[in-house]
Symmetry: C2
Subunit: 336 residues, 2 copies
DNA sequence: TTGTAAGCGTTATCAA
DNA sequence: TTGATAACGCTTACAA
């Protein structure tokens, strides 16, 4: 290996000359096509390794049908969630020789569709992965369909039998958590719901209500508060709930930022956690898990959802994969 | 605008025909070159708009000297930090017709240099932006230099007069915070330092010590603990500090995750915040600010650092920009 | 199983 | 100030 090999950028022509074969044969080996003799294949592989050759994305995209690029289109959710999804998708792409283009955007902006159209044209996208609430954006989905770009959705509000997706059962998660609280002896369970901007909110509320009904516990509307998926709204809701004549003995917040807010407010109001109050969260983000140990959470396997979505997209499958959530009880894990 | 215009991908040839000029002239207009008559320029612009034409990145990269792509290379810092930096850099790139390629990596991995070399070759990078601790990685920086790829650093440990960078004065931030605590009457101030993996840790400690010295307060080694920049190590350090015969009346944690840990431990040990204990943090991530209101922090203007680094890189300047930090006192802001 | 030729959409070069 | 023509590095189509 000469000193140059670290600096020189070799081409497919260099490789073909070094291996004594045609450029097309090198291309065949690179793309794993059939009809290459073991002998030539070996020679090519050796030359590729020796020259430290790597194909140009630009040339491949221009000449071929595929660009080996897919986009991850997301609307500014929690940074923890976004980073996890991004890392997961990127890892799977890299494994298969693809590159991921991160495309943050605002679902509510009037220009989203144009922005994504520009991306498709300029980057010659092979596919896309959508997270909520972009996965609910009709304009974006129509564009993708019109352009013939395959896509997969992560935790979409509605399963679409024609579109690949990876998700957990939101309602069942909330049901399981509520049932868990009931099994601990709680009868008076507060619920902090999420904003209507996300379709998951209604599902989580439904799960909570289903568990209560299944246990024969009457629904008490004063125990249900609407939040905004953020810390402040969780605090606010907790203040109201804990000020009730008969305060709840447990509060289930349907996001972890809100659960953290509930905990902070409980501390502030001198309510002992977990002795006088159990706090539970629905964890989209891993945030509460990091910051606030004394918490029971329903965890979405975020990384795994990303893997699944990427795998579906790259393999061209159009399945709706349902994954399991985890119920993590800190009390038993004993991390605090 | 026909129905087709939303679906058709037009080329520079289509535009040249529509405008009645040569392809080269269209190219000149697109790239803002001189020597194009106002008349033709106008015709071309009109045709571009009418056809909704957007140049192909792949073709530009292949034919031209520039790929209009830069990489953001970062090693898994806090998700909040990463998302902010990414959003900032991406925004500036988009403004100037560039694309940002996010490249997470591990500074300690033996393959980082190869991974980045692959990226340079395959994507034909025009430049890169490095965050700590990649900005301290000699192998990576040597590679970039050898390949002739310009780069900018965000908050590097050492300013390099040859390399563009955007940063705040870490030592001065820690000094300012410590001086602030002293001005509130504190004399007994605990310090939780960061890991030696980041060169900033030593600087923050130095700032803390400088402020104490300036106020004529003797250094007490038992008040200084080493942490790991995470929640757990902050809790641990706080537990030790608050168990001292004479516990500190204020604790300054040099990261916000650690500050959150300090706060949680104070609550757990029944130490009233902020009455019996002031807690201060150095905020790289916005995390504690979101989750833990009763906190005084030194905030890095993360978004602005990203803007500055991107602007420097894209304009080809080799300056070392120093930005101001903010001292945010929650008590006065009154957010809790 | 292998190779030849053409062309992808743009910019660089050089001539007009 | 404009425009022909030849690259750029690869894959497609087709031939051998």
């Amino acid at each position: 290996m000469t000193a140059n090999s670290k600096t020189a950028k070799s081409t497919i022509g260099d490789v073909s000359r070094a291996a004594g074969v045609s450029e097309k044969t090198v291309s065949r080996v690179l793309n794993g096509e059939r009809y290459v003799s073991a002998d030539l294949r070996h020679k090519v592989e050796e030359a590729v390794a020796r020259l430290d050759y790597r194909p140009s994305f630009a040339a491949r995209a221009l000449a071929g049908k595929r660009s080996y690029q897919i986009a991850l289109i997301f609307d500014n959710p929690s940074p923890y969630f976004a980073q996890n999804i991004q890392a997961g998708v990127m890892a799977r792409c890299a494994q298969q020789g693809y590159r991921m283009i991160a495309q943050p955007c605002e679902a509510a902006s009037p220009t989203v569709v144009d922005e994504i159209a520009a991306l498709i044209d300029q980057a010659q996208l092979d596919g896309a992965i959508l997270t909520a609430p972009i996965s609910e954006h009709d304009g974006v989905r129509a564009l993708l369909r019109a352009r013939g770009i395959p896509y997969a959705m992560i935790s979409p509000a509605q399963l679409d039998p024609e579109v690949a997706s990876a998700s957990i059962d939101q309602a069942d998660g909330a049901r399981a958590m509520t049932a868990h609280l009931i099994s601990l002896g709680h009868r008076n369970i507060g619920f902090v719901g999420g904003s209507e901007r996300f379709a998951t909110s209604a599902k989580r509320l439904a799960g909570y209500q289903a568990a209560l009904a299944a246990a024969g516990i009457g629904a008490d509307p004063s125990l249900i508060r609407e939040g905004d998926y953020d810390f402040a709204s969780g605090s606010r809701a907790a203040e109201e709930l804990l000020s009730l004549a008969v305060p709840p003995s447990a509060i289930f917040a349907s996001s972890d930022d809100m659960a953290a807010g509930v905990l902070a407010m409980a501390h502030k109001m001198g309510v002992a956690v977990p002795d006088a109050l159990s706090v539970a969260g629905f964890d989209d983000t891993d945030l509460a898990a990091v910051v606030w140990p004394p918490l029971t959470t329903i965890r979405q396997p975020v990384r795994e959802l990303a893997y699944a979505a990427a795998d579906l997209l790259l393999s061209g499958k159009t399945e709706q994969v349902q994954m399991d959530f985890e119920l993590i009880s800190r009390a038993s894990v004993g991390r605090g």
